[in-house]
């Protein structure tokens, strides 16, 4: 899901710091959950500002009007930059996945299937295969729906520890175990001799730094790099273990589900977002890629600049709650830690708030004050689930297409254009939107069209060396 983030100044730290209440639902093991988070994030934008309670709201509202026109221009002006801010990581993730698929044969070798897709596709008849893949996709989607509902329930009943634990375990799994397997396979492919001690050191360092960057604080680029890497690892797992027809069906069904879950009023993710907003909380932000983090410079109401800035994106209601939570405050903790960190550290029982002392302490931190003043630093977020499914599509295209590189390239361009359109819609509608449907639809259409129609044509042209 993507959202144009309000740029409420936030602590710079490993996680997404936005004011989105629902940053992520933390089911980590299930990717779809991650995706869901994204959806929820997306959704957050839906709620009108009226949900914010507290006085900043009035200010926001006034400023909103005068900023609305400016906003209109600004959104488009900044739109191109945000699109590129998302193009680059999506492209990088896809490049990593395609490069791995093309070189490491492990990920294209059939070694069984996940338990979520129990039916095999090696059947005798085409009809049987179709039926099996439909059943597989149905089971996978039901698993996703169940997990999402479980997550919403956990969140509603404030079982933050469970969610948090789940998130940590799944990041651990990805950062240590999956990357260990990946490293092993890369070494096997290139016939590199390696001892366990070195590997242990490498994986340990990689994993620990990853955990710190993702769940706590770290340089923005490093955190973005880690998020891209874990998305690529997860996408590779899906590419390896999902049989062909099942994979395409799952992609199609998931984009429909995404559309429904993010936009329908009774969708679990929407409910999650609304609950988070009622509580003025941000959800677990470990599973969203953010293009920018802004140092916290001034979050106080006293700061007209920040407010104006905040209100610039005020159509995103998250800003308002964030504004508010910053005003009241309860934690007398060190201002060096972000709200996210505090959230994760405590059992939250109420809105996250920062004390004036903590704010002052943070302000005393060396900060890049230009960024908070600079509207160009407004960032945009995309859920990791979107990265994963885009990469699954392109990876599967490169693994199984007869058109090979042409198909891969076509799917890549289609996904980028879909992302561009989604961001355009985001700029127009100014509410959280699902990022999967348009891109995946284009991707699927281009995959099948290029593989079956364009490839024979290009083949014949190349054979005769004709150029069109």
């Amino acid at each position: 899901m993507t959202e144009l983030s309000a740029h409420l100044p936030q602590f710079q730290h490993g996680q997404l710091t936005e004011n989105f209440p629902d940053n992520h639902l933390s089911n980590t093991n299930d990717n779809s959950e991650r995706r869901r988070h994204d959806n929820s994030e997306r959704r957050r934008n839906d709620n009108p500002e009226s949900e914010t309670n507290g006085q900043p709201q009035n200010n926001i509202q006034q400023v909103v009007e005068q900023d609305e026109e400016e906003d209109e221009e600004l959104t488009l002006k900044y739109g191109a930059k945000h699109v590129i801010m998302l193009f680059v990581p999506v492209t990088l993730c896809m490049v990593v996945v395609v490069a791995t698929i093309k070189s490491v044969s492990f990920y294209t070798r059939k070694d069984g299937q996940l338990i979520y897709t129990p039916f095999t596709e090696e059947t005798e008849t085409v009809g049987q295969r179709a039926l099996n893949s439909i059943l597989n996709a149905a089971i996978m989607i039901s698993v996703i729906i169940v997990m999402t509902i479980l997550l919403v329930v956990l969140y509603k009943y404030r079982c933050y520890k469970v969610i948090h634990g789940w998130l940590i375990i799944s990041s651990l799994l990805l950062l240590f175990f999956f990357s260990f397997i990946y490293l092993g396979e890369v070494f096997k492919t290139y016939n590199v001799a390696m001892d366990y001690i070195t590997v242990a050191l490498m994986i340990w360092n990689f994993g620990v730094v990853g955990m710190i960057c993702i769940h706590w604080k770290g340089p923005l680029r490093l955190q973005q790099a880690y998020l891209i890497m874990i998305s690529a690892l997860m996408a590779l797992v899906f590419i390896k273990y999902l049989p062909e027809w099942t994979a395409w069906l799952i992609l199609a069904v998931i984009s429909v589900y995404d559309l429904v879950a993010v936009l329908c009023p009774k969708g679990p993710l929407r409910m999650l977002v609304e609950t988070a907003q009622e509580r003025n909380e941000t959800l677990f932000p470990a599973l969203i890629y953010s293009s920018t983090m802004i140092w916290l410079v001034n979050m106080a109401e006293e700061d007209p600049e920040a407010q104006r800035k905040a209100s610039k994106n005020s159509t995103y209601d998250k800003q308002a709650p964030a504004n508010q939570t910053q005003n009241e405050d309860a934690e007398a903790d060190d201002g060096g830690f972000s709200q996210e960190w505090q959230q994760q550290r405590d059992n939250r029982i109420g809105p996250i708030e920062s004390t004036p002392e903590s704010r002052a302490a943070v302000q005393a931190l060396p900060s890049n004050s230009q960024t908070s003043e600079d509207p160009e630093e407004r960032g945009v977020k995309l859920g990791l689930g979107d990265f994963i499914f885009y990469s699954v599509l392109v990876g599967k295209a490169s693994a199984t297409a007869s058109g090979d590189w042409n198909t891969t390239l076509a799917c890549f361009v289609a996904i980028l254009i879909g992302l561009c359109l989604t961001l355009l819609l985001l700029a127009i509608f100014k509410k959280a939107l699902p990022a999967l449907p348009i891109s995946i639809t284009f991707g699927l259409v281009f995959y099948f069209a290029t593989d079956n129609l364009v490839q024979p044509f290009m083949d014949q042209l190349a054979f005769h060396q004709f150029y069109i």
């Binding site: 191109a80 590129i84 390239l409 254009i417 129609l453 364009v454 024979p456 069109i468």
Partner: protein, 256 residues
């Protein structure tokens, strides 16, 4: 084959385009988006033309060689026409986009002009066209094999790379010419672009007689380059001054 051929052909085919991209397009997000959208439009035109060709082939006798070749030639011509049609559609889209950008801008002018968009759109079309022609060849060039062992031309990879390069340049110039023609309602410019494109694609029917395809294409490229340069405000005087600046050591102002 091997790495030398791979890198050589890659840089012959895509080197200039990469230079164009890095120096003129990469720094501006709006141009990158226009580039990718241009690539997308070219892709859609290719898809539709392949669809038509596919239907024609399926409806015909696969054993009949001359017929298949004839259908392929028809496919090529149809594809060229469709590409130009999509270039026109893209022009229309960009016009609307400019109006939107003007409406949304603070000072009433668009951050990018239609001429710049024409150039970027041309590069987009060219890059995608080149990529689709060349990428599978490059992937094969990495692997083992001997070019032309069955009697075909040994220069296959090299000529493909040169042809790709000239096509990328041509698409860039055609973009400029085409959009200029559309802007100023000069239909003969548009027709000239279509005719040039048909001529270049038609000349490739002489392959592997490369002198029949590469030489005319390069000549046409030079002509299109000069024409596009003149249309973009260049003149012999500008060129002379530019060269003089270089010689005198002063840094020339790059045209954006």
């Amino acid at each position: 084959m091997t790495l030398a051929v791979f890198f050589g052909c890659t840089f012959i085919a895509f080197g200039p385009a990469l230079g164009l991209f890095l120096f003129t397009i990469a720094h501006d997000p709006l141009r990158i988006i226009i580039l990718i959208a241009g690539a997308f439009f070219w892709l859609v035109s290719l898809l539709l033309s392949s669809l038509i060709w596919f239907i024609a082939v399926k409806a015909s006798n696969p054993q009949d060689e001359p017929l298949q070749k004839g259908l392929l030639i028809f496919g090529v011509m149809f594809s060229v026409l469709l590409q130009e049609a999509f270039r026109f559609l893209y022009y229309k889209l960009l016009r609307k986009a400019i109006e939107g950008l003007v409406a949304l801008s603070e000072d009433g002018c668009s951050p990018i002009s239609i001429q710049q968009m024409a150039y970027v759109a041309g590069v987009g079309f060219g890059l995608m066209s080149g990529a689709f022609s060349m990428i599978n060849l490059l992937a094969d060039a990495l692997g083992p094999g001997i070019v032309g062992i069955h009697g075909d031309s040994q220069l296959y990879f090299l000529t493909s790379a040169f042809m790709t390069m000239v096509l990328i340049f041509l698409h860039t110039f055609w973009g400029i010419l085409f959009f200029h023609g559309c802007e100023h309602r000069r239909w003969w410019e548009i027709m000239a672009v279509v005719v040039m494109h048909l001529a270049v694609s038609g000349s490739t029917f002489c392959n592997p007689l490369y002198v029949g395809s590469l030489v005319p294409s390069y000549l046409l490229m030079a002509a299109a380059a000069a024409w596009a340069y003149l249309l973009s405000g260049g003149s012999a005087q500008n060129l002379w001054r530019f060269l003089l600046c270089l010689r005198s050591g002063a840094s020339p102002q790059p045209r954006s």
